[in-house]
Subunit: 178 residues, 2 copies
């Protein structure tokens, strides 16, 4: 801003001399001129950051859609080898019917490891204390051999960790037997 | 601007009278005072929008992580019934070995419909023109019955749509037979 004090030209942006005739003092600094330049600068900054925020909102929305698509494809792709092997087992079934059980059992193990790799291992809940966060009670059993309030039997296995449960286990809960 | 012309108070923020003695005109409006208020306002706005942009960036990053987690869980959960049925088929296998093929075939169909529902139907590429975007050539065959440049045989099926291919089909391509 002090640069403008050294020369007199460039006054085309100046206001025409008004009744206050402030712009007519060429010798001193011009705080008002400086302030107006600062205002123009700030208003420009404001427009730019507002546009940036707007673009960022749109970009974020697009990124979310794309992230979901990518994750869906990635997760689905992990199951293709399982399906391939299942079909291979079926192809050989007619020529070697006894062999199919072995093949299907291998496919089942493969499916379990796909789930575990996705962060959802099969849970082993038998004997654990019943916890409604990870267990779904589908029945009770009174048995002196079992500790009341524990999982007596898993009817349908659960998947996932305590932090991220994919499906709670369906369980039969041991109750007091009097 | 014209509002400030009507009253004379609010001069506490004024500069001490300098050599130019501009602030000493009590009768007129005070454009410098107004400009300074505007600068303070713009600077405040700037700080707020900058903070908003910063928060939004952080929130967007978190949303992306959560969206991926959700999509992964949702996609994986779709496969649990397939696994359940596969295991059911295996359970009955020892008592009814002949029945397992039927059960596994049903599981295979279920797996195909899970994939289709995720947006990745099995492709039927036999006879289609070879397209490197959706086909992976694993061999060629010279056969007068076939149109050169078309898919003679699908070795491993492809999944997905032309827009979103999950896995290209591995195919044998028909070539000119001279």
């Amino acid at each position: 801003m002090s640069e403008q004090q050294t020369h007199e030209q460039g006054s085309s942006g100046h206001q025409a001399p008004g009744p206050e005739s402030r712009e007519q003092q060429p010798s001193g600094p011009d705080p008002l001129e400086e302030a107006r330049a600062r205002i123009a600068e700030l208003e420009d900054n404001w427009r730019r950051i507002a546009a940036e925020l707007d673009n960022f909102r749109k970009r974020c929305a697009k990124d979310l859609v794309r992230a979901r698509q990518q994750e869906r494809a990635k997760t689905a792709a992990g199951w293709l080898p399982v399906l391939d092997n299942l079909e291979r087992a079926l192809e050989h079934a007619s020529s070697d019917p006894e062999h199919i059980i072995e093949g299907v059992r291998a496919v089942q193990q493969q499916a379990l490891s796909v789930l575990a790799n996705l962060g959802f291992p099969r849970r082993d809940d038998t004997g654990k204390a019943f916890d409604p966060a990870v267990h779904e009670a589908v029945g009770t059993i009174a048995d002196k051999e079992l500790v009341p309030g524990t999982v007596a039997q898993v009817v349908r296995p659960g998947y996932g960790t305590d932090d991220e449960i994919l499906r709670p286990a369906a369980v039969v809960v041991a109750t007091r037997s009097d």
